[in-house]
Every structure is written in structure tokens, then in C-alpha cells.
Symmetry: D2
Subunit: 376 residues, 4 copies
């Protein structure tokens, strides 16, 4: 490891890496947990979480509503071991597409590549960690070599893939997932990216340059003269097209951040830019610790979203924000959903329908455009 990089002097890391390995816990639909959520979670944020579970399992998943459900992920969820919840949800068809920070997808690769992240403490001395070459994500610890080797895998994948054009992030992640499945059979038990590829669930990233995946693609362009790049236009239009095609639309938002906005902006893109009236989301569930009073979008309420046409003004009763760390609330939420009568749906496999959905979006937009011109 080079000088001035974390861990370059090559100290021992044993001191910090003695915690239990973090694994992808899979919810099984516990009846006890469902009872606690129904009967014990009565007020305050427990009440909100209970409402969120009931709206999701009772309404969003109801077969007659055929809701197209987006899951957005911000905050270090895969490092904290929540990838197992995501795998269970997408495998059961309870989530139709995902918008995630790049970091969550990058760190998911560690599990696929069989590296070990460990439980630790947030109170360690980071200068010692630096000396010892140990990387810290709050209380999750692992050797810096995990970064270097995951980076190497990404760069090799890029070369191997022969990708050499502008693509969407959904295509990148799909191709990456297929590569993982081929090279690491069985890794789809331990990798959201791999399982999503297998199950046909598209994964988007709202900030494609903003993660180690993006950093390595940038390397590929600068050093290998590759012409592979992410075209954010494709992502914007694909997500719009998916939302447009939904009979009903709803979301589960973990955290907030740019994935939240990237999901929510699909409806304003439709009316504000394309002139297509869709009417806003029908369901809106957010689990976050951000606060409305700080004014930012992460903490903005479903109500504020109404004024933007992001949320249907008629459905505020079907929107809920539970203020809780996702590491606590999301596993509870998934246990509830998995154990519910609607705990399995036919998967939509949207990865394979992207082209046709975007074509439909273009058609509708052209029609709206012509209608507008005719009206002037």
C-alpha cells in the first residue's frame, strides 16, 4: 500500500477487527413482530411505523392496486447489514425498482466478493485506524485492502464488459450483477446488486460520479481512454417512464438525500417538463431521522410535496413519515411485510421493459407537445 494512504506502514489490525462479521439478516415474517407492531406500537414514532407497515402491507401490496413501488436508499445501509432485507423484498416482488446512493451499491460488492465487514465501535481513535489501515463507517470496520480489491474488481469488470458508450445506471448495475452471478455463483444470497440482476429489478443511482464505483469509471475514462460513461438523461427518463406506467405509484424512502428527490421528481418531470398529467404519488412512506424544520428536501413532508405535484393531494392519509434510524425500523417493517397476507407478489422485472416504457413516455410526451402547440 502506498505511503500516506491509510495503513501504509502496515500495522496490525487485529485490535480493531475482532468484532462479529456483519451478515445480511433475512426477515422471515415473524408473527410476534407483527403483533408487537399492531398492538404495542400505538403512538409517537412507534405509531407512525405501525401505520407505515399497515399502509404498505394492506394497501400498497394489495393485488387490486397493482402499485409500482420504488425503494430509495440513503445512509450506509449495506455496510450495516440491511442488504438482506432489500434482497428479501425484491425477491418477493415487494419492491419494483431501487434508487440508491452509489456507496450502498459499492459496499454491497464487498459481500459479493466475500470480504468481511465487522461490528465495531464509533468511539475508536481514527488516527490509530489510519495507521493500522482500517476503514470506519460509523461503527463498521474493515481493512483498507477491501477497498483496493473491490476497486480492482470494478476496473477489471469495466475492461471485461467492453462497455464503451453512454448508458443508464440501471444498465451498469444490471451488467455488474450478471458479472457477479457468473463469477461468484451463489453470491445473490449476499448481494443486492447480484440478486437484483437475477430478479430483473433495476437499480438507479442519482449521483453517479459520487461513489467508488463512479471514481473507478472516471479512472477508466482518464487512463484507458474508454468512452463508457453514465448518461443521467437515461436515468431520468427511465424512472419517469416507470412511474408513468404505474397503475398506482408509491415509494418507501430510507433516509432521504438525493435518492429521495430523484424518485419524487419523476412526477414533476411529467407535468412540468413533459406536459403529461399523472397526478402525484398515491402512497408515500419515509423512514428518516432528518427533520422538517431544517428546511431541506430530505426532511420535507409528504404535505410539502403536494404543492409540487409530487404527491396526490387526495392521498395524504396514505402518506407517513416514521422518524427512526432505518437500521432499527426497516428490519421491523420488512418482517411485517413479509409476514403479511400480501407478502409475495409477481415480480415486474422492469429491467427487461425499460426500452418499451421509455418509448411509451416519448410517445405521450410528443402527443402532449403537439396538443400544447395546437392550443397556442
Amino acid at each position: 500500500m502506498p505511503y500516506r494512504a491509510p495503513g501504509s506502514p502496515g500495522h496490525s489490525r487485529q485490535q480493531f477487527l475482532s468484532g462479529k462479521p456483519i451478515s445480511y439478516y433475512r426477515p422471515t415474517g415473524s408473527a410476534d413482530i407483527r403483533r408487537l407492531i399492531d398492538d404495542g406500537f400505538q403512538a409517537f414514532n412507534a405509531g407512525r411505523l405501525s401505520e407505515a407497515c399497515q399502509i404498505f402491507a394492506g394497501k400498497m401490496l394489495a393485488p387490486e392496486n397493482d402499485t409500482t413501488i420504488g425503494l430509495t436508499i440513503a445512509g450506509a445501509m449495506t455496510p450495516a447489514g440491511l442488504g438482506g432485507c432489500v434482497i428479501e423484498m425484491l425477491d418477493r416482488g415487494l419492491v419494483d425498482f431501487i434508487i440508491s446512493t452509489g456507496a450502498n451499491l459499492y459496499h454491497d460488492l464487498h459481500y459479493a466478493l466475500n470480504f468481511t465487514l465487522r461490528r465495531g465501535s464509533p468511539f475508536v481513535d481514527d488516527r490509530e485506524l489510519y495507521e493500522d489501515g482500517v476503514i470506519r463507517i460509523y461503527d463498521v470496520l474493515f481493512p483498507a485492502t477491501v477497498l483496493l480489491e473491490t476497486d480492482a474488481y470494478i476496473r477489471e469488470f469495466l475492461v471485461r464488459s467492453k462497455l464503451n458508450d453512454a448508458t443508464s445506471t440501471s444498465e451498469l448495475h444490471y451488467r455488474l450483477g450478471l458479472d457477479l452471478l457468473e463469477r461468484f455463483p451463489g453470491c445473490d444470497e449476499h448481494s443486492v446488486v447480484a440478486r437484483a440482476a437475477k430478479d430483473g429489478v433495476p437499480i438507479y443511482t442519482s449521483s453517479p460520479g459520487d461513489s467508488s464505483i463512479g471514481m473507478n469509471i472516471a479512472y477508466h475514462e482518464l487512463m484507458n481512454d474508454s468512452r463508457f460513461m453514465i448518461d443521467p438523461n437515461k436515468d431520468v427518463n427511465e424512472v419517469c417512464a416507470i412511474v408513468l406506467a404505474g397503475k398506482q405509484n408509491g415509494c418507501v424512502i430510507l433516509g432521504g438525500g438525493s435518492p429521495k428527490n430523484f424518485y419524487l421528481q419523476a412526477q414533476p418531470t411529467l407535468w412540468e417538463v413533459y406536459g403529461i398529467m399523472k397526478g402525484g404519488n398515491d402512497y408515500f412512506i419515509q423512514i428518516t431521522t432528518d427533520q422538517v424544520v431544517w428546511g431541506g428536501l430530505s426532511g420535507a413532508t409528504p404535505s410539502e410535496a403536494v404543492s409540487w405535484g409530487k404527491v396526490n393531494p387526495g392521498v395524504l392519509p396514505d402518506t407517513v413519515v416514521a422518524y427512526c434510524d432505518s437500521t432499527v425500523a426497516f428490519p421491523l417493517f420488512c418482517e411485517y411485510a413479509v409476514g403479511s397476507p400480501n407478502g409475495r407478489r409477481q415480480r415486474k422485472e422492469l429491467v427487461h421493459k425499460r426500452e418499451q416504457l421509455v418509448a411509451a413516455l416519448r410517445r405521450e410526451a410528443k402527443m402532449a407537445d403537439e396538443k400544447r402547440k395546437a392550443e397556442v
Copy 2:
């Protein structure tokens, strides 16, 4: 306005749009405010804000340190009228480049285009706002037509610009700023995008598809068959190159979010991906209300960044996080900086040096690569 869009029935908006117009307040370097910060802000977050002011004005701006300073902006700062602070800072050379959410830049255009955003309340009924066609950003209110007309300007600019290739966001914003300057003379008093173009300050967006600017570019591709797109690789490499070239490096982080990470990842990109040792940031100032205990990157401490090689392990005393709404803390911070003996620096005008800096990055990366291969 089309049916099912906010305001389509065409109600009166007078009820909601009676507040004072929001304008771009410009800090003037008040001695009273400097005295309050030095003598009255002694402990807790007042103490942290005081330290941040002193580190910025006393160390980061000190001529002998020649610090390359990045400002990252998350949260709705321009809607809240903080663009005047940003203009003052970049005009005085106190900030060398900017990484912002797209929303801040999009809403900055309203001021350039002479639309009016108004002071309001966060407690209004959003269903009424929706009926009346009034858009709400927390307590900032304006007619939905402001969105539609700003969108139209962006789409016309895109056509006019003849941009038809993959570019960096810095190039997009620079071209946009030049267009504003040409078409709306004097607007650089009321627009960060325009002033930054005039002053040669590059502006990056970490999530290029995630804002109305990105939505309109996506329209341009889908509807006009344009080949213009943002290439995030260029952004990653330009920011890396700017950081690599800095004698010292430091940042002022407003909020957190993906702009924070996009700035901070430059150092790991250098050591982790390009094999170039730079040693981490020398200064780190963050104003945020996010919290470390939620585990996300927005709230992560400078200390946690040390383990990643983002912050130089030797400089923790020159890092500080002040927990405060930026709308309160940033104007105070700017008053302090502007009034300090180092309140004006030669502008670096990095917009005009991007190509040469990226070339230098490529050279160093190639050398590092060859050295690595030789060592194996």
C-alpha cells in the same frame, strides 16, 4: 397550465404571496458581528462557529497557505436568499470552486430571470397551495409559473447553446452563466451561476440528473434527439485535479448530502484509485444540523474521514463542525470572513485552468501506474 398540475384551476394566489420578496443579502464585514463571534460565542455551537470563523479567516485565507477552497452547498440555500453570501465569497476570491445540489442552481436562476420568491410560513395548507398554483419550499412561496418559465428558459438555452456532446457540469454551468450575463445584464448581482461564470469559479453538481436542470436536459435528449449529456467522469476527474493542484486544501461544507461526499472523495480517488499520495484535506469546516449518531455521511465527523484518508490525520485541530441551520450560521460566517484582514484574495479562476489541471492529473496517474507495475 394543464389539468392535474398544481394550480390548474387558476385560483387567486394573492393570499399566499403577500410576504416580503426574498433578496440576496450581501455581507459587508460588520465589526459588531466580528466582536460578537469573538467574544460572545464562547461555548457549545456558538463556540464551534467562532472556531470555524477563526480557522477560515486566520488560516485557510492566510496568503502564505494559499489554500484551495471548495464550498459545498446542500439544502435550499438560494431559495432562502443565501446566494448573496455565496456571490460575495466567490467575488472576493474566498471560495475557489463550488459543489452544489442542482436545486440550488435551478432556483438561483429565478433571481437571474427576475422572478420573485417570497417569505411565507411553513404552516400553510398544501392542498390549498396546490389548488392556487403556489409552490412551497418550507416557508418560501412562489407561483408554479416560475417553474414553467425557468424550465422554458433552460430548454431554450440548450437549443441556443448548440451543446451536443458529453460535458462536465462545470462547463454546463459556465455556459449557462455566460448566457445569463449576455441576456440579462447586471444579473450577476442576483445570481450565483452568473457571477461564478463572470469570476471564473467552476460549479459542479454531484447528482446531475437530480434537479429541474437535469430534467430539462433529459427532455432535450428524449424530445430533440440531442446528444448533449453530463459526463460524471469529467466532474470526478476535474475535482480530483483541482484538489491535487492545491498547495493546501480545505472546504466549507453547508449541510452535507452528496455534495459533501463528492468533495471529500477526491482525496480517496487520488490514493485509492489513481495511486497518488496527497495526504488528505488540511482544513475542514462544516455547518450542519445532521448528527453523527445517525451514521450517514452527511453527519460523519472529520475524525471518521481520517480513516478514509479524506482528512490529514495531523490536522484534526483545524477541523470543526458547527451544528446550526446554515441560514443562521452562514451569513454570520461570511460577515466574519469578509471583515477579516484576509477578506479578499486573488481569484484563482479555475474555470479556465480545468484542462491543464486534468492533464496534470493524468500525467501523475500514469507515472504512479508505471511505478506500481514496476514494483510488482
Copy 3:
């Protein structure tokens, strides 16, 4: 109801009072929940909550440690239905004494008196609630008459009790509990105050004038010329004496506020005021959403408490703060504890030992005093 009181015009309340009644959910020690906490709660606040459960069940409750355990309660826990968790804990001997805000005890009386609080929403119009005579605690709703009738019960109890002297709050709450048990047989299934009296668990209030109980005692003095009053000195000394007598000491802190400080100050009272060396708490568990960076005592860390001698400097590994709404985290915590091998302990019944413990405190303090004088 008098004019200008909430609800005086006598509107219908049906609109707001249609939610499910809130009841006291009793944890049963679910194995599923224990598995989720052990295996699924791996990092971030889920990790902290898991650690808290393991420290409590594995160490604090271990028979060989014989830990004297204080539970402090701030925030509206009984209105939210968490009284059932508290009852289960004190009945099983898992909590030896309680320090609570007066509000939690006052609202607990509603359940004993068989009034109904209901699930509602935090987004209702409070001016309408006021007109309709409905009281709101965040999202818990009930008629204003519940207050008036509970107040009447308290005043009648005061008259009936013939209390006419300065007493501790533990004595007041014990006498109140006995009165409830006598007049409402079986109410100890639905009342913390009643069950604590039955089980001999003393309950203290750090701010005795600051609740409707205190308000009605003040009435009793002003209007009935009673000489009954709370003597805070007795509370301070009783809590000190309980802590002094503990073989090991530990606490479970819900929220923070003055109950937290009232518990923690016992150790400084011993060394700082009485000159008796005890050495600080051995265990410290807090569930809160307050933050250390705001500087207040509610959010202060176990580490900060070390400098005050509140926490034994050697035991920081046995201290943990989980940042989570208690309505979510405390039921999970109780399920874990109840289901653990140490899920039942012999009750200490400290109510009946207060006099003897305070006598021991006085003895030790006198000895320390004489030793000090001898040393001068």
C-alpha cells in the same frame, strides 16, 4: 365546563375520538424478537440497542452482580401506552426504583381510573380540538373531562389521605397507589403507580410542582390550608441512600430531562457533598433522541459523566446510548429482557427500606464528616 376552558361550548368530539383505545401492551419475551436483536441489529443505532439489551440482560440482571437498577422516564411514555412495559419490568424485579416526570404518573392515573386515551394524528387542527374539548399529546387524544375528573380524584385522595406534612414523592406515590388498589381493584394491571405500590417499588419525581399532580397539591395548600407538601430534600437523600446501598449500580434512562440528572446526581452528592466515596455507576443505558452536540444534560454522554464522578471511569464499555424514539426501542428492549435467562429477579421492595437506608446514609456521612474534621 367553564367558559374559556377547552371545550367549553360543548361541541361534539366524535370526529377526533374514533381511534383505537391505547392500552398497556405487555412484553412476553418473544424469541423472534430476541433473534432479530441479536442477529439483525448489527450496526448504527440498531447495534447500540442490541448492545444495550445484552448489557442489561447479561450483566445488569446477572444474579452475581446484584445490581440496583434505576429507571428514569421522560417524555410522554404512559400516554403512548408504554406503562405495560414498565409494569412488566418492575413486577419481575428488573427495575428497583423509578424516577419519572410527574406527567407520566398523572397520565397513568387515567388508565387506573378507567378513562380512555385514543390513537390519533399529530396533524389535526388544535383550534378545532380546543373548541371540541379534546386534549392532544402529540398524536394521543382524549376529552378534557379526563383531566378534570382525574384532578378531582387527586384532590379527593389528598383530603381522604389526611396527609398533612412534608413527605417525599416516593411516599406520595406509594400512598396514591395504595388508594388506587383499594378503590379500583385490579387496576394494577393498568397502572404503573398502583402496581409499583403493590410491588414495593418507590417512584420519585424530580420536579414535584411540575405536573397536574403538583398543581392539585398546590390547590390543597392554597384552598384547604393543608400543610401537606413535597420535601425535595427527602427525595434527594432517599435516592442517594438507595444508590449508596447498591452492590453495583446501573440505570436505564428513557429520554433524558430532569429525571436523568436526578438519578445521576446521586453519585456526586455522595462524594461532593457528603464526602462518601462510591465510585460512580457501573452500568449506564440511555434510549434517547437528544444529541450530545446540543450540549445539554439530556444528550450528554456517559463519557462526559465520568468527569463528574457519575460514571465509573473503568466501565465505559458497559455504557451505551441508543438514539431512538423510546416508543420503538423500549418495547423491543423489554421483550429482550423478559425473554432472557435472567428475566426475573427477586424484588428488592425498596419502598419498605427507605428509612433504614437513609439512616445508613446519615451514619456514613457523619463518619466522613468527622474524618474530614480530624484531617484538618
Copy 4:
């Protein structure tokens, strides 16, 4: 210092006690700061703080409204040096009575007794502090001997005062302030307790046993057989009487906690317990970082208070919560108030009117009682 007390081994403290002394900054009414608040603080919490300043200076202080103004203080404000703001406010008659945590009053005594608290860091090692006998309040540091000597002063005062009965906290603090004025002439420039005594401003504590003052009174009872105690009934009734006598009523709430509730419960005590209709507060200003969504009283909104009859339902526009650390917001708020045209009022000197106000309360309560009985 005794063994097992902080600092007992007698290490050097120089390492930690090198920061600048904290002093009581006095606001002077800066025109620059007023301009920033009026013109630069336009939205989000800056907007709220601006509104709070305008409501306070423009309405609450307006001579024609003759508002009785209570200030409640939670969080470690005097350790952070904010006592100077409080002194300026009460000296100018801008605050008529105070409800504070005991800790703020206890630590205020250090300044009166000429001890030095110093600026430090929240990131020091508390085990080292403990060894060195240094006490930490977040980032404020001072020797443990400051506690011991302040405690000794309190105990000597108690002996000297010959107080031997049940009194209100306002009487205790008044007597304490007079003692300070007599023994440390001029200390009213550096002590809220002393200045309040001089200016006749009553100071209440909602949790009288919960601070080092309360601890030392408890010692006095246990060790000296004193019969001096705090009677919370007197506090409840005095605050009620003050509120009842107000032509208009308003509050400035710093933080939240039990002082907030103790102030706000005065109105429900009047209607709910005494049957006297007063109608709720006319103005409500809170500066806090607590959040409504956690459900507790600290973060509860003025709106929630309406349903309890604490806030007049007609005045919601004159209520405002600014979410900001008080160490930043309160000095700004005071600068604004002091510099306003209403920056000085005739002091009410309520300390000298307590008896007569309580007599009036009793009279009205008796009348209400008789009327009630007549109606039955």
C-alpha cells in the same frame, strides 16, 4: 480531595485549563446585527429567529401591551457564558420573572464567587479529566475544586441565613442573591442570581432537588437537622398568581425541559384546577433544537399547547419556534431587543409583590369555587 473523587490523585490540570476564560458577554444593541436579522434572516430558522425578534421587540415589549414576560432557561446557558444576556434583559425590564434549571443557577454562582470556567473542547478524554480533577460541561472546563468551594459557600449561606422553614425557590434565590451582593460587592455584573435580587426579579426552579443547590439543602436537612426546605406548592401558586395578574402574558423559552412546562402549566392550573378563566398565553417564543416529532413536551409546538388552554387559540401568529442552539440564537435575539425602540421598560420588581399576588389568586379561586358550588 477524597479518594475516588474526580482528581483525587492530584494531577496537573494545566493541559486542560489553558483556554480563554468564559465571561458574561453583554449585548449592546448593535444596529448591524439588527440589519442582518431584518434583511438577511429571511427564511427557514433564520426567518423564524427574525420573526421571534420582531414579535418580542415590536409586540411583547410594546408599552401599550404591558406584557408580563417569563424567561425559561434549560441547557447549560450560564456555563456557556450567556448569563450576561440574561442580566442585560432583566436589568432593562425586558424579562419579569425567570424559571431556570437549578444547574444554571448553581453554575452562575461560580462567576459571582470569582472562579474561572474556561473554553475547551468536547473531544477530550474524560478519564484523563477525571484523573486530573477537571470537570467538563460539553466543552466548558474547570477544576473540581470549583464545585467543592461553591458547595461550601452554599452550605455556609444556609447556616448564616437562618432559613428554617418551607419557602418558595424565589425566596431562596432572592436571599442567596442578597447574600452575594453583600459579600461580593459588584458581583451583580457577573451573576444572574445577584442581579435578579438587586432588580427584584423572581427566579424559580421547577426541579428544586435536582441540582447541586438542592443537594446541599438536602445535606443541611440530613446533617444539621435543619427544617429548611423548598415547598413546590409555593412556587406553583406564585407563578400562577404572576400569570393571573398579567395584562398580557408571554414567554421566551430557551431549550425546553421542565422549566418550559412549569411556565406553561400556569394557565391550565388556573382553568383546570382553580376554575379561573384566563385564556392562555398571548405570545410564545421558543428557541430550541428539540423536535416536535419526538413527541415530548420540550419539542411540543405552540399549536399543541392550544388544545391544553396554554396558548390562546387566537394568537398562533404571535407564536414562533426557532430551531437553533440558544448559544447562537439568544445573543442575537438580545442584541435585537436591546437595540430596539422598546429596549428598556420599567421593571416590575415582582419579588416584592409575590405575597399580594398570591392573595389575589386565593381570592379569585375562592370566588370561582363558590360560584361552582352555587351552580351545582
